[in-house]
């Protein structure tokens, strides 16, 4: 149990006498305080469905990304297993000092993601290799004793898992006080393998198909960095003694760099290990895949606006590198969107959405009318239609259906063109529009990308691409368009293929032409020999080059670039321009920032400096600067202390406090005149000061008597 107390001590918890109130289902929170006309139930169901889809998609992505790593690991395990089998026979293996096969798994600094990786790793190992997988965390193993206890405990549980018929035996073992030593471990291993060996043949077949003959014991150290040196060293020395008796494989989870092994283990110990390194995919690539599969697709109707996406990406890049947190943030934005936007009921697959439009209530129709993007749309219509849209619900519903379809088509076009443009910009020097597709996506979401300076310079650079590059890029674009589902790209594909064909034809024509030009100029040079004429011809040559006697290639190139430019202008319109974009786009980035990137110091300061912000009490509403006397004592004390220097005189502080407090309550000048401070005020002051001390703003000082030291700076 946890307490809210910051101090250490013994806390007594009485069991709550009443049974806990039946927790209300989550769905109720959606409808709380809102009338039911806004489809809160349906919204909740849609939200759940969408999240489940996305969740399973992310799991799939993770599995795919980890597959390579796990396959490598398993083949390493297999290799060391065969080595263990043959060890007793060969001279070479006998002579070699026996080493413990060790896999060092470098996973990157995104520690929060590791848990999932290890979980799936141990599942994979348990399915394919061995039932005896143990994962250890540093905080569970402060000493070698705890480590062995944990190890044995987990192994005994494995034993129960593997065949339930022998459960009784195992329970007996675990009920006996296990002697935690390597000797008993090897004895246990012997007994377990013997048991499986003497099983009935049918059973044996099933088990051997899944696991290897002598399944190794795999010990995973989840966070290598946090283990103490002594524990690790002792464990390795001990297992080095027993490696002949049972196969043991260690897996080190490393967050920083493999050098940590050498910092933790001295030469004499690390020479007992046969270390092989494995590197997982970098978290940035992981994020790129996640964004690619979750955001840059029409598969899921929900979309993030530029600002919200930027917040999530910034948290990732600036703070934690954790893809799990990114996905959590994405989940939060989904929930928030469905909770706060009544029209999010339409945020589902197109056919379903069209159906739902028909059953919209009147208040929902009003909601549509009040959308800024819809208003813009109405204003652009002729006046009769405007009136119809604003008054007739049925007509509105029809228009909404077509608008939703338009939005869907917009997305279908948007993503292929975005990828196509990214293929172009990713090959440019200095990446004016960003290296990653997500940066380009953000740029296109926010504003008309073709109006930006970066786009201008990108187009300039595109006009300087070499032929080979350009052809490769065009080829890629064709692939992107053919793989996309949109039907309206058949023209585009044709056009691109035509460009490609023309580039190829050019090759033949160009070589002859170039020769022509060079021959003619050379002739001219040979004819004129005096300085004046030479100068003149050179100038002419220069002039002609500048004024563009464009080669065919250059003409074709600019044609291609113009074509791409036209694609961008017609398809990469920012989403905010689309009517009804609020239905699928989540754009309150502030909420995300508040929840995901909390600033405790700032919140504390606001609470103390401006209590109205949290208490919402009208009497507290005041101009900043002056000190209200109705504010809680601690706020008054806090504000007064902001005006002091590093050391605060308690007496002065008390006087100031009592002045402020009495200025409200007693207007009697006579009582103020007396020097004596009211005892109650004194007590209130002391309590407020000690509260400030608890919050860490001040601490008692030994430099001067009756003074406290400020622990914060600034704020005057």
């Amino acid at each position: 149990m946890s307490t809210c107390s910051v101090s250490k001590g013994c806390f007594v918890f009485k069991p709550s006498s009443k049974k806990r109130r039946k927790s209300s289902p989550t769905a109720d929170y959606f409808s709380e305080g809102k009338n039911d006309s806004e489809d809160s139930g349906l919204r909740f169901a849609t939200c759940q469905l969408l999240w489940n889809q996305i969740n399973s998609e992310t799991k799939k992505i993770q599995e795919e990304l980890n597959k390579q790593l796990f396959d490598n690991l398993i083949s390493f395990l297999r290799q060391s297993d065969t080595e263990f089998q043959t060890k007793k026979i060969e001279w070479m293996c006998r002579m070699k000092s026996s080493e413990i096969p060790t896999a060092a798994l470098v996973l990157g600094v995104n520690v929060t993601d590791h848990d999932l990786t290890f979980k799936s790793l141990s599942e994979v190992l348990q399915d394919n290799v061995t039932p005896y997988v143990v994962s250890l965390e540093a905080k569970e193993c402060p000493g070698i004793k705890h480590l062995l206890q944990k190890l044995m405990g987990q192994l005994m549980d494995c034993c129960i898992d593997v065949d339930s018929s022998e459960e009784e035996d195992c329970v007996k073992i675990s009920q006996k006080k296990i002697r935690c030593s390597m000797a008993s471990l090897s004895k246990w291993y012997e007994s377990v393998t013997k048991k499986t060996g003497s099983e009935t043949p049918s059973k044996k077949r099933t088990s051997s198909s899944r696991h290897w003959q002598s399944p190794p014991i795999v010990v995973i150290f989840k966070d290598m960095e946090s283990f103490t040196t002594k524990v690790l060293q002792d464990f390795i020395v001990m297992s080095g003694q027993h490696i002949h008796e049972f196969p043991l494989i260690l897996i080190f989870g490393i967050a920083t760099s493999p050098m940590i092994i050498h910092r933790l283990l001295p030469q004499s110990i690390s020479s007992l290990l046969c270390i092989e390194l494995f590197q997982s995919l970098s978290c940035k690539e992981y994020l790129a895949t996640v964004i690619d599969k979750l955001l840059l697709t029409t598969q899921f109707p929900f979309k993030l606006s530029e600002k919200a996406l930027q917040v999530l990406i910034n948290i990732f890049l600036y703070h934690d590198f954790s893809v799990q947190n990114f996905i959590k943030g994405f989940q939060l934005s989904i929930v928030e969107h469905f909770y706060s936007q009544p029209l999010s009921v339409l945020c589902c697959q197109l056919l379903e959405a069209k159906k739902r439009v028909n059953s919209l209530s009147h208040s929902q129709c009003e909601n549509i009318r009040s959308l800024p993007s819809f208003r813009r749309y109405v204003e652009s219509q002729v006046s009769e239609k405007q009136i119809a849209l604003l008054t007739e619900d049925n007509f509105l519903k029809e228009v909404t259906q077509t608008l939703l379809e338009d939005l869907h088509i917009y997305h279908e076009n948007y993503f292929p063109v975005l990828r196509c443009l990214h293929v172009f910009t990713a090959s440019l020097p200095k990446y004016p529009l960003g290296k990653q597709v997500r940066e380009l996506h953000c740029a296109c979401l926010g504003r008309r990308v073709w109006e930006t300076e970066e786009y201008g310079s990108a187009v300039q650079l595109m006009r300087m691409l070499a032929k080979a590059e350009l052809m490769a890029i065009l080829q890629k674009c064709v692939e992107i368009f053919t793989s996309s589902s949109g039907k309206q790209f058949s023209n585009t594909i044709e056009k691109l293929e035509e460009f490609l064909a023309r580039f190829q034809n050019l090759e033949v024509a160009e070589t002859s032409e170039v020769q022509d030009v060079s021959v003619s100029t050379q002739k001219e040079f040979q004819k004129k020999t005096d300085l004046y004429h030479l100068q003149k011809t050179l100038l002419e040559l220069k002039e002609s080059k500048r004024s563009k006697k464009l080669t065919k290639f250059e003409m074709l190139r600019s044609e291609v670039v113009d074509f791409i430019d036209s694609l961008v202008r017609s398809y990469l319109v920012p989403a905010e321009m689309q009517p009804l974009n609020e239905v699928v786009y989540f754009n309150t980035a502030n909420i995300l920032r508040e929840h995901l990137n909390a600033a405790p110091r700032i919140a504390l300061h606001t609470a103390l400096n401006n209590p109205y912000c949290y208490l919402k009490n009208q009497t507290l509403k005041s101009d900043t600067g002056c000190i209200s006397n109705t504010a809680p004592d601690i706020c008054i004390v806090y504000k007064l202390h902001l005006e002091c220097g590093r050391l605060i005189n308690l007496v002065d502080w008390l006087e100031a406090f009592s002045t402020v407090v009495t200025a409200v309550e007693g207007t009697d000048p006579a009582s103020v005149a007396t020097d004596q401070v009211d005892e109650i005020i004194h007590a209130r002051f002391i309590r407020a000061v000690s509260e400030l001390e608890l919050l860490g703003f001040i601490k008692p000082s030994k430099q001067k008597t009756d003074h406290v030291a400020r622990l914060t700076w600034g704020g005057c």
């Binding site: 470098v106 092989e276 590198f321 405790p600 110091r601």
Partner: protein, 416 residues
């Protein structure tokens, strides 16, 4: 003519023993003379010390096994508490004296119990000296204070014919308890010389090649590696790893087994390369290491680490000068005190408070940094990644102090 002479044991056994322990003849013969005959009482305790892989454990084990003396061999690292150690000794004694191998588990909590149970167990072995060998005896110092003196006086306390042998890598002086104790007989195992190594390594030649061929190979190997590595275990490992390479010309039929010169040419470059990584047990892995030493960090973590580095290696007085725009004039002369003229990098990192770290962070990051919870949690995660260390107690809530533990090269790589 056997080196070892002892009336109690048959000559054949002694000869066999001699062949088993090359280059340790003098130690073994002195041990033999100390042990005396089976029923003789000897020293209550013997302390054997010497460097890693100087053959302490191996010699002791072979000696006791070939002479078939009743003994118990225990590794003190494995038995990390006194209870485990004592129980381990008792259970091994049990299997020694009685026929049934799986002796029942005897609970034994204190040394007093141990002495009592020990007397019971050794009743049948009255006429022979029982040897208890404690390998890696350094660990005994970390157990209860009575364990080491207890073992030293076990003979006297139990009134049995028993000798305790301690094997250790450190000298006896570091063991001696404050309260005084019975001094053991100490015996030093010196390091193997190059000649010894040559002899021992060639002793175990592979069956398919002649001893001469293998010893020529060992000669080459030692010539290359002796300067960097004298550990017998590792040398043996190296010898095995590189032997196939050495044999290649012979296997292909290009060279004769006697053609040492040719074989030397073939292996030389290979061994030189292997020498770059003396611990070849880690294979090509050191090269891999340098390639992957770089750590990717989030944006603010990088700045936090750089700030921490600056705070660790710059004196706090200079902060104002380095991180404020208008710091006023500072006289260049006598700016540094004498002791500060030595490079701060030689002195190692100094602890700094959290506030200073944050202040430096705010001044080195270009745009404004909000002190969000994420920044603070990043500091903690840097600590768990061992890039920073917390100085003082973990539970200190106000004003925690940190140290930066990364090197200048690391910071340079990050700052790029």
């Amino acid at each position: 003519m056997p080196n070892f002479e002892h009336p109690a044991y048959p000559e054949a056994t002694l000869l066999h023993l001699e062949s088993m322990v090359p280059c340790r003849e003098s130690q073994v013969s002195s041990l033999l003379s100390i042990f005396g005959e089976r029923q003789h009482f000897t020293f209550p305790s013997i302390f054997i010390y010497g460097h890693t892989s100087s053959g302490k454990t191996y010699v002791m084990q072979t000696l006791l096994e070939t002479l078939e003396l009743p003994h118990v061999f225990v590794n003190c690292v494995e038995c990390f508490t006194s209870r485990l150690l004592l129980e381990e000794i008792l259970s091994k004694l049990q299997s020694l004296s009685s026929e049934n191998k799986h002796g029942s588990h005897v609970p034994c909590d204190t040394f007093n119990d141990f002495v009592r149970l020990f007397k019971q167990e050794t009743k049948d072995l009255q006429d022979q000296t029982v040897y208890i060998v404690l390998d890696k005896a350094e660990q005994l110092r970390e157990m209860e204070a009575n364990v080491l003196p207890g073992f030293l006086k076990l003979q006297e306390m139990s009134d049995r014919n028993v000798t305790v042998v301690f094997l250790s890598e450190i000298v006896w002086e570091l063991f001696r308890p404050n309260t005084g104790c019975l001094e053991p007989f100490t015996l030093y195992f010196p390091d193997y010389s190059i000649g010894h190594l040559q002899k021992i390594l060639s002793h175990y030649h592979p069956p398919e090649y002649s001893a001469d061929f293998y010893s020529a190979y060992i000669n080459i190997l030692l010539g290359v590696f002796y300067t960097v590595c004298r550990d017998l275990k590792e040398l043996r490992h190296l010898a095995v790893l590189n032997f196939t390479k050495y044999c290649e010309p012979v296997v292909r039929g290009e060279a004769n087994e006697r053609d040492t010169r040719r074989l030397w040419k073939n292996i030389e470059s290979h061994l030189k390369k292997a020498m770059q990584t003396p611990t070849t047990s880690q294979k090509t892995y050191l090269q891999w290491l340098s390639a992957h030493a770089h750590v990717e960090l989030p944006y603010y973590s990088k700045f936090l680490l750089i700030a921490a580095y600056l705070a660790s290696y710059n004196p706090a007085r200079t902060d104002k000068r380095f991180f404020l725009k208008h710091h006023g004039k500072i006289k260049k002369t006598n700016f540094l005190k004498k002791h500060e003229k030595t490079s701060n990098h030689l002195l190692g990192p100094k602890p700094f408070p959290l506030d200073r770290l944050l202040a430096i962070l705010y001044s080195i990051v270009d745009n404004k940094v909000a002190p969000t919870a994420n920044i603070f949690s990043q500091i903690t995660s840097l600590v768990t990644l061992q890039l920073l260390t917390l100085v003082g107690h973990d539970d200190q809530l106000d004003g925690p102090k940190y140290k930066c533990t990364v090197s200048l090269d690391f910071i340079r790589a990050i700052a790029r």
